[in-house]
């Protein structure tokens, strides 16, 4: 954490293009941005973003009408495994703009707002490749990990040895939210936003998520 603070200070000084100083100023109060990227693979040092979606959240309202969505033309080939996940093929991205051209618009959209996501560190690591190339810095925005809030609400007081399940589908199920079209950047960002507003309220009202006492021994689906 201290390291990230130091990096932020350093980045602020080394920011090449001063017109991006707004990234270091706090965004409008009570606003965050839910962000999700689909990528060519899972290695931030090698893989690239092929689609990105960002949705603003103001208080309890998800501003689905104010979103940023883009398909990206990557410089590397898309891994076959990744195509299976998000369904974007070479042909779908070949007419898109490269990330370096998209990034300025995205940065203006998110401004200094905190970024929320599911495994947000991965998305930010992917974005940082291009931010570094463009501005010589890392994204300075505060980050909020929804699975972290979920963990605290559900397992924060769990006895040792409790089985922990932080899968996206499981979080949605616990919050009674619809699972929808996963691995489409916009849908993922939207579902993450729904998880966030719901969990934020749980934290505010100090509501905990119940853990099942015993694991159900069988699944009655289809019976």
């Amino acid at each position: 954490m201290a390291l990230r603070w130091l990096m932020r200070k350093l980045d602020h000084v080394t920011l090449r293009d001063k017109s991006y100083r707004f990234l270091f100023e706090p965004g409008p109060p009570d606003e965050v941005v839910s962000i999700d990227c689909e990528t060519t693979g899972l290695d931030p040092s090698r893989d690239e973003i092929i689609s990105v979606a960002a949705i603003k959240i103001r208080g309890d309202r998800i501003l689905a009408s104010e979103t940023f969505q883009a398909v990206v033309r990557p410089r590397v080939a898309i891994a076959a495994e990744a195509i299976k996940v998000h369904g974007l093929r070479e042909i779908d991205v070949c007419n898109a703009r490269p990330m370096i051209e998209i990034m300025p618009d995205l940065l203006r959209f998110i401004g200094g707002r905190p970024l929320i996501g599911y495994y947000i560190d991965f998305d930010i690591a992917m974005l940082n490749n291009d931010v570094a190339e463009l501005l010589g810095i890392h994204l300075p925005n505060p980050r909020i990990e929804v699975s972290g809030i979920y963990y605290e609400r559900k397992y924060g007081d769990a006895p040792p040895g409790t089985q922990i399940d932080l899968t996206f589908a499981n979080i949605l199920r616990d919050l009674n939210l619809p699972l929808f079209n996963q691995h489409d950047a916009f849908s993922d960002a939207l579902m993450t936003a729904m998880i966030y507003v719901n969990l934020k309220d749980y934290v505010a009202r100090d509501i905990r998520i119940a853990r099942p006492r015993i694991k159900p021994s069988s699944d009655f689906h289809g019976m």
Binding site: D60, R61, I62, L63, A64, S65, L175, N176, L177, P178, F180, N181, S187, L190, M191, A193, M194, V197, N198, D201, R205
Partner: protein
């Protein structure tokens, strides 16, 4: 496709893909914590809310009128009018997609089909649904196969057999066509061919049928579609198609069979009842009555009309049975009545038999007992289940002299118990089907007068409308939409309150009508209830009875119990509207009879 807006559900299915996309782009998602007000009563709504998760309470003047769950939306009327009657509050953590009012209004103006949904009141919404129903019914019929139809027997004669013997066979097998074998080829000869040959061509009845037969048979297989039969009949201008399975002739399909499959053949059943001269013949006709319901519904015929056709057939059947069984000396002294739902003409699927006998004077006890037993036993054999409350001719309490009935009325109107109210309700719905109808008219007049003289009696009677809580509370199941066994009781929650509320008003006015729809029309005519309210009530009752009937046709175990989770959001919307109307009627009856005094 989208979590924000599911354009597969009404009314969004009426949007073009571009319109849906533009609306989607304008929508936000709002989160509400428990007890948070989403729209205050009388406030201007921001737009149309579509529930993504959670449960929402709809209240009017603080009173809960409905619960909404995922995929439900609100408040369409408020969006159009700019201000709502109901208030909406989150019951639990709730997420709603919100379509801004300006965008919804723009689509209402540019897309008439979408707009119609928002402007229509409950009646018109129901009609739109009925039409959709009808097209899907016909579609399913077109997929029916020949083997599903009633076929005439395929009797084969030789071509050298005489016109006379062909005519006799036709009469014996009750079929107007025979197949004719002539060496290798097979043809068909009809009753009309035989008549024309004799009358118009002057042939004698001894001549062989060979020259009359037509050998250009059109055949289908049992697995062929009914729609194909219709096409073949039109194409070859044939009234009869022969059904063949391999080399075997399995039947003859007449255009009338196809038509009756589409329309039911109630007219044929009427003839069969009228012609029956034995219990066995009547029994066959009785069973056919029950078979009418399904094709009528499949045709998309409204409940009210189905019920009218079926009760007309049932009454003919009862009258015929009375004719066959009643000893001549009793005939002029008795009136056969049907009561309860049968009396109101609202029974379609047979649930029970409610019938009785009114005698003008005491008759021979032995003959009466014989008639009672035979009559009820015959009906049971015809497939009418015995009445659980034993309101049947073979119960001496329900087959007695008018004087005895009248003395019963005194105790019914003065004894403040449930049984008395039930008896009044059952008897007030009575309709005479055979014998001396004036006996029933006199008895009912006496009952109405006795009720009018007992001031508290009618209020006590009407009180039953409050017996069951509004079923909207049961909509709790909607919040998970997984149907955890909680079901909605259509009968207790909707059908009974309407029937009973209307019946209470009808008694007060001494109406002769027994049918709820007719009572409603009469009450509106008398100015007792507003005309559009009467119309809404009739539509709501018709809707509730129709979904119950469809469930009964599907042979559900308890067709009155309905799981809201199994309904489409359109149906849930209509159900809510219907129950709101029921609520208004309860209010009206409560005020009319000062029920709060009890």
């Amino acid at each position: 496709m989208s979590v924000i807006l599911d354009n597969a559900t009404a009314p969004f299915d009426r949007l073009t893909p571009e319109e849906a996309e533009s609306l989607r782009g304008a929508m936000d998602i709002a989160y509400f914590r428990p007890n948070e007000t989403i729209v205050a009563e009388g406030a201007a709504p921001e737009g149309l809310y579509i529930v993504i998760k959670g449960c929402i309470e709809e209240r009017e003047q603080g009173e809960l009128v409905g619960l909404l769950g995922p995929k439900d939306f609100f408040d369409s009327r408020a969006v159009v009018q700019g201000v709502g009657v109901s208030g909406f509050t989150a019951r639990e953590e709730t997420l709603c997609a919100l379509a801004p009012r300006a965008d919804v209004l723009r689509l209402i103006n540019s897309n008439p089909r979408f707009g119609a949904f928002f402007y229509s009141d409950i009646s018109r919404k129901l009609e739109a649904l009925a039409q959709k129903d009808e097209s899907s019914q016909i579609e399913s019929m077109m997929r029916a196969r020949v083997r599903d139809l009633y076929l005439m027997p395929a009797a084969i004669i030789d071509s050298f057999q005489s016109i006379a013997s062909a005519g006799r066979i036709m009469r014996d097998i009750d079929c107007n066509a025979l197949l004719v074998r002539d060496g290798e080829r097979t043809g068909i000869v009809t009753g009309m061919n035989l008549s024309k040959a004799v009358v118009l061509k002057g042939m004698t009845i001894e001549e062989p049928v060979k020259s009359l037969a037509q050998f250009d048979l059109v055949t289908v297989e049992p697995d062929d579609f009914v729609s194909q039969v219709l096409l073949l009949m039109t194409k070859y201008n044939k009234r009869r198609i022969v059904v063949k399975e391999g080399d075997l002739y399995v039947g003859i399909l007449e255009d009338i069979n196809v038509l009756s499959f589409f329309a039911g053949n109630s007219q044929l059943v009427v003839g069969r009842i009228d012609r029956a001269s034995t219990l066995t013949e009547l029994s066959a006709a009785a069973r056919q009555i029950a078979e009418q319901v399904r094709p009528l519904r499949r045709q998309g015929v409204k409940f009210e009309v189905v019920a009218e056709i079926i009760s007309d057939l049932n009454r003919r059947l009862f009258a015929k049975l009375f004719d066959l069984l009643c000893p001549p000396e009793m005939r002029d002294k008795a009136c056969l009545i049907v009561m309860g739902s049968e009396g109101r003409g609202e029974q379609t699927i047979r649930t029970d038999q409610d019938n009785g006998l009114i005698l003008s004077e005491p008759v021979d006890e032995a003959a009466l007992n014989r008639f009672r037993e035979q009559f009820s036993a015959a009906l049971a054999e015809f497939g009418f289940p015995p009445c659980p409350g034993h309101v049947m001719v073979d119960n001496p309490l329900w087959s007695r002299t008018i004087a005895e009935y009248m003395s019963d009325f005194r105790s019914w109107t003065t004894t403040p118990d449930e049984q008395s109210s039930m008896n009044i309700a059952i008897f007030f719905d009575a309709e005479a089907v055979a014998g001396d109808a004036s006996l029933l008219a006199r008895a009912k007049k006496d009952l109405v007068e006795k009720i009018a003289n007992e001031r508290v009696c009618l209020a006590r009677f009407a009180k039953a409308i409050e017996a069951f809580e509004p079923p909207i509370g049961l909509f709790n199941t909607l919040k998970t939409a997984e149907g955890e066994g909680d079901a909605l009781d259509l009968k207790k929650g909707g059908i009974f309150p309407i029937v009973h509320g209307v019946r209470s008003l009808a008694i007060e006015q001494g109406l002769e009508e027994t049918n709820t729809f007719k009572r409603l029309a009469k009450l509106a005519e008398l100015g007792m209830i507003k005309e559009d309210f009467a119309r809404d009530l009739a539509r709501a009752l018709d809707y509730l009875m129709t979904i119950r009937l469809d469930a009964q046709i599907d042979a559900a175990k308890s067709a009155s119990l309905l799981k809201p989770a199994t309904l489409t959001s359109m149906d849930r919307d209509l159900l809510r509207d219907s129950f709101q109307i029921v609520k208004q009627l309860r209010e009206l009856v409560r005020r009319r009879f000062n029920l709060h005094m009890f």
